[in-house]
């Protein structure tokens, strides 16, 4: 079983990202639980979402305190919230940023991957210029870094699952998949 925690800000589509993953993994015949940090969500406020992925039925039903990997949808959260809490050594940290993994200064025990999802979202006009929606680009990069789901399945899930601009969201995920930089 793999446990993943997503960090983002209200309005970036963090919860939808975990739902798209749930849909894609379900299509692949896997088991998954995807759920938001339960609370009252406000635009801009730090939010978290969780996913458990397994080949067999998943029994634990509580929040994830010791994730195998984390996904950071907003680089401004670094330093603002305790993102690495409980992250297991050797786990991936996937960050939406222009920077290279080595520039982020994360502890050596983790593997780091970066993707400029904001640029990709803006390119495909996802969300607004002030508040681009990076979730589909981030799950595209996720599929490359943590290969638990087939890219084609994921792209189909995105195309059918997003409320608007299905083709653009699909292209954003594909581009992020291709352009993610992985170190470690």
């Amino acid at each position: 079983m793999i446990e993943i925690r997503f960090h983002g800000r209200g309005g970036q589509g963090t919860v939808v990202a975990s739902k798209i993953l749930a849909d894609a993994l379900t299509r692949d015949g896997k088991y998954i639980q995807a759920f938001p940090e339960f609370g009252v969500e406000r635009r801009g406020a730090p939010v978290a979402a969780f996913a458990r992925i397994s080949d067999t039925k998943i029994w634990p039903r509580h929040k994830i305190y010791e994730p195998d990997h984390i996904v950071i949808l907003d680089p401004t959260l670094i330093g603002a919230v305790p993102l690495l809490d409980g992250l297991k050594p050797g786990g991936w940290i996937l960050v939406n940023t222009k920077k290279k993994p080595s520039e982020l200064g994360f502890p050596e025990q983790y593997r780091v991957a970066t993707v400029d999802a904001t640029r990709i979202a803006l390119k495909y006009r996802l969300g607004s210029a002030a508040s681009p929606i990076v979730n589909t680009a981030m799950v595209g990069a996720f599929a490359r870094v943590i290969p638990v789901v087939k890219l084609e399945t994921l792209l189909d899930a995105i195309e059918e699952g997003v409320p608007i601009k299905p083709k653009e969201n699909r292209a954003a995920a594909q581009e992020a998949y291709n352009s993610v930089i992985m170190e470690g």
Binding site: A22, D23, G29, K30, Y31, A34, W59, R61, H62, K63
Partner: protein, 384 residues
């Protein structure tokens, strides 16, 4: 059959859709809102041919589905916490009128202080209304339980509440098999009730009944609950034949050689099952008894399973202030008439949506290993 990732709230909606409900009346409340949101969309786009009645309160919602059921329609509603409390009067009325209404309740803690997070006190407070109560531990069970609830309810003329945890199920996406409509139709025939409001055969229902007969009518409600004990398991087996999944009154896990048995409901039971596996790896003889059906209370099953245990640990995500854990008190009641019964340790935990983790359950098991006698109440995790 289609496998889809859906949240628990939508599992309720799909259960209602596949049961071909004819009338829905509901009032939105967090964390239930998605249930009726999807049902109203289904009604609007014609997927579900049902009357969607907008109401101004939960009391009205329950009154409307009661009226619908009394006129011969299959009726559905859903609510949570304060909304369920507001329905209280009508819940009794629906039972007394012997109407097989099915509702979803998302467990949410009562205010004040305001909380939107899970706790079982809301539904357990409706314990004595005569509604059957089913507590689901995953979204598949939520969907399947709605179909099963109508099947059993309509044969016995008793209402059923399908209960699920706020967020841990209601807002969690996970794979659910959506059964084919034709197969559900084969399993669940249309609702028929000869005691309905019918202008061609006029009767007054629920009128003043003197002490000479009131008790007999209560007796009949209780007898119907007793019949439900067998019928729930019988229909569970029929359901298994068609859909491959079995649901009974209780769900025992590794209890045969267990010295200690954990008793839990809902998602806490699911987590406890994971804890049992990990404890077994450490060589601990521990098992789990998940209580799925709380009303009718499965006394015989519980006695049978727990009588061989050396210790029973009950996890209650609810509180009856001044008494303690509600499930624990029922379990103690079930065991009281056994000559030699195991000590019962009653843990209160996870109130107001506080997490119940695998680690917590393993910790309390280790703590309980050192205790020889039963304890009426042990608080887990309170900042003392």
């Amino acid at each position: 059959m289609k496998r889809m990732a859906i949240v628990g709230n939508h599992a309720l909606s799909y259960g209602a859709l596949l049961s071909r409900v004819q009338v829905i009346a509901a009032y939105p409340i967090t964390p239930q809102t998605q249930v009726v949101e999807l049902l109203s969309e289904m009604c609007a786009d014609g997927t579900l041919k049902a009357e969607f009645v907008k109401v101004e309160s939960e009391h009205s919602a329950m009154a409307a589905v009661m009226g619908a059921s009394a006129s011969g329609a299959r009726a559905f509603t859903a609510t949570s916490s304060q909304g369920l409390a507001l329905m209280h009067e009508v819940l009794h009325w629906v039972t007394g009128a012997r109407l097989p209404v099915v509702m979803g309740n998302i467990n949410r803690a009562f205010g004040p202080p305001w909380s939107i997070w899970t706790e079982q006190t809301d539904s357990l407070s409706q314990r004595d209304t005569g509604w059957m109560q089913i507590y689901a531990q995953d979204n598949q069970e939520v969907l399947d339980s709605v179909i099963l609830a109508y099947k059993v309810s309509e044969q016995l003329l008793l209402p059923t509440m399908v209960v699920l945890d706020a967020f841990f199920l209601s807002h969690t996406s996970e794979p659910v098999e959506i059964p084919d409509q034709e197969k559900v139709d084969e399993f669940l025939p249309p609702y028929e009730n000869k005691y309905i409001l019918n202008p061609d055969a006029p009767h007054a229902f629920g009128g003043l009944t003197n002490p000479e007969w009131y008790m007999e009518l209560r007796y009949k409600i209780h007898k119907a609950h007793e019949e439900a004990l067998d019928l729930i398991e019988k229909e569970g087996r029929e359901f298994e034949k068609m859909f491959g999944r079995y649901y009974g009154l209780v769900d025992p896990y590794k209890v045969d050689d267990a010295e200690t048995v954990l008793v839990a409901v809902s998602t806490a039971a699911s987590t406890a099952r994971h804890a049992v596996d990990l404890l077994r790896e450490k060589g601990k003889k521990v098992g789990l008894l998940r209580i799925r059906v709380f009303r009718p209370f499965p006394y015989a099953k519980i006695k049978e399973i727990l009588s061989n245990a050396r210790k029973v640990i009950v996890l209650d995500r609810n509180l009856s202030p001044g008494a303690g854990g509600i499930i624990a008190s029922e379990v103690r009641g079930a065991l009281a008439n056994l000559r030699n019964h195991p000590p019962v340790l009653s843990y209160i935990m996870g109130l107001g949506g506080r997490d119940i983790t695998t680690k917590h359950i393993m910790e309390l098991f280790e703590e309980a290993e050192k205790m020889e006698e039963g304890k009426d109440i042990i608080w887990k995790g309170v900042k003392l």
